[in-house]
Symmetry: C2
Subunit: 345 residues, 2 copies
């Protein structure tokens, strides 16, 4: 079951949820050409790493679907499409990955006719979408086993369906447990500076009909102390091969607070998030972002002029503070160095 | 040295800093009558428990200073003034305390003439102001001894001069260390939901010329891990006799994070903050405040409609996570049960 659909393919068009209007307005856009898709990506109407990969794949098909001409010109049209869409968000690795998968599919099937090549481009995009859904569902399925009846969970940022094809990672676990009839309460960190928890996670949980309470990030400790939270589940941006996990700023503090209160701390992520080329957390580069993210909220300035700011986008949860990883291949417990590796053996 | 003056008495008028315009605008208001003072209190132009006590005391004088008539009518005028100002902020305990002190002074000196009674009312208000400054200065003096050259401190909320007569508690320590030529860096938690750190503490530190960095509350852990912070100093709303300390929400999380990183954690507060009638932290009632404080920022809504919220205004730092108290009578180390009591013996 999906509680909302941030992206779907309908006959000859992409239909996407305009995420810039959330959480106060739910509006879907129909995208029939790459110019409209380009605009949607630039304006962040569509966002989230996995979702951009899927959008990129469909984008390649949108760019060639009305093409008439020979095979050589089709390939030229495909390259133009990819180059054009690549400029919409040059740092979005998944966008490139999604387009590249479609390109490879076409290049590996050049014996086919033009119309057949278009058709397999569409099929590949659909396959990417279905894979993403399947992985999320699997994460949800495995994760739901650790959720008890009447459980209460704290989550941070938005590891939900809006960044993926609709089911997410940390939130997939909650969605699946809820589907199975487990009654849940979820505490949602608002997640400063960009408030993804307040804006997106609360919205997703409401769509799913899961009871939730929004809290400020600095309330996590007291919520744990009062026994309101039985486990913490968050997503991951990047996992090192020893299990150290980079995720949205605040994850590290949360892991220490959970440790202090003897509350299990879980990371839900697809296996693709584990970067086996990275040995440990200190090797993961941490991006520092614009001071304006902290200094202004919705365009309103909250601090004096000339205020200096420290604004790391992520922090790293050391592996010894993590109870287990929840992946599409099952739960992974310590020792992580050894057991994460088994996932790809 | 005072770096700014939230309230002062000038010949026949109060001059107050309009705190509603901070941090972007610094404007002083002249208050010559109780109607103007009433408006300033209602609109929160003047705020902070100790400061309201001082304002109330001067308010009583403002209400009677131009009175012409006999002693009986003077007392009636005084009572009218107190009743009128009491309505400006009916929950502000210190406001009543300040007015009561002036009333008592007058009632204890009824042998004096009308003009003399007015005069001692003004003197009492000035005495309250001076006491407040002296206490803050003393806290600063004792606290500055634990600050090293090139030290770095994290603070939460605003335990500064704006809530007092200009010098504060936690910030008094930093002001005094800075005056003594110690070079400091201060990390300031923005302090959601009301952002007192972002709005007020950064402003105060800038006025004093102390280097500071604003961070989101959820960045405290990583700032500690990176070695950027050598000690934490915060204020207190109420201290139980065993040392358990209620303070702005987030203080509890911060104490655990400091403990995990072996960073000393100090509470700076006047002895009057210690409530010896309360045995331990769990007996301190914690106010839950309006959901709107979290759901909107500067009038802009950040979460979906129908979002449920948990919004405790304070939390309690257990005494075993506190390194020492910094008071106007000196530093107090464990065992707190015994050593706090010595302050009033």
């Amino acid at each position: 079951m999906m509680f909302f659909t941030p992206l779907k393919w309908e006959k000859d068009k992409l239909v996407i949820l305009d995420q810039t209007l959330l959480p106060l307005k739910e509006k879907y856009l129909e995208i029939r050409d790459i110019e409209t898709l380009y605009e949607a990506i630039v304006k962040l109407r569509i966002r989230g790493a996995p979702l951009l990969g899927i959008a990129g794949a469909f984008g390649v098909y949108l760019g060639i679907k009305d093409f008439r001409g020979d095979k050589e010109k089709l390939l030229k049209k495909m390259e133009e499409t990819i180059n054009y869409l690549a400029q919409s968000r040059p740092t979005a690795v998944n966008l490139f990955w999604g387009m590249e998968r479609v390109r490879k599919k076409i290049m590996g099937n050049l014996h086919l006719h033009v119309e057949e090549l278009k058709e397999i481009a569409l099929q590949e995009a659909q396959a990417i979408l279905e894979e993403d859904i399947r992985i999320s569902q699997k994460i949800g399925e495995y994760g739901s086993k650790i959720i008890f009846q009447q459980d209460s969970v704290l989550t941070h940022c938005n590891a939900g369906g809006l960044a993926t094809s609709g089911y997410g990672t940390a939130l997939a676990v909650l969605f699946k447990a809820h589907e199975k009839g487990k009654k849940l309460v979820v505490y949602v960190d608002e997640t400063r500076p960009l408030l993804q928890g307040a804006r997106l996670t609360t919205w997703e949980l409401q769509k799913a009909g899961i009871e939730s309470y929004l809290i400020c990030d600095n309330m996590a400790g007291v919520v744990m102390k009062e026994g309101k939270v039985k486990k913490v589940i968050i997503g991951a941006d990047r996992v090192a091969s020893n299990g150290d996990t980079a995720n949205k700023i605040g994850s590290y503090s949360l892991a220490i607070l959970a440790h202090y209160h003897s509350i299990p701390f879980y990371i839900a992520c697809p296996v693709s998030t584990i970067d086996f080329s990275i040995k440990e957390g200190k090797d993961i580069p941490i991006e520092e972002r614009s001071p304006e993210e902290i200094l202004t909220i919705k365009g309103e300035r909250i601090a004096p002029h000339n205020t200096k700011v420290y604004n790391p986008a992520f922090d790293v949860v050391p592996h010894h503070l993590i109870t287990a990883f929840i992946t599409e291949k099952g739960l992974v417990y310590p020792p992580f160095e050894k057991n994460l590796h088994k996932l790809i053996e």
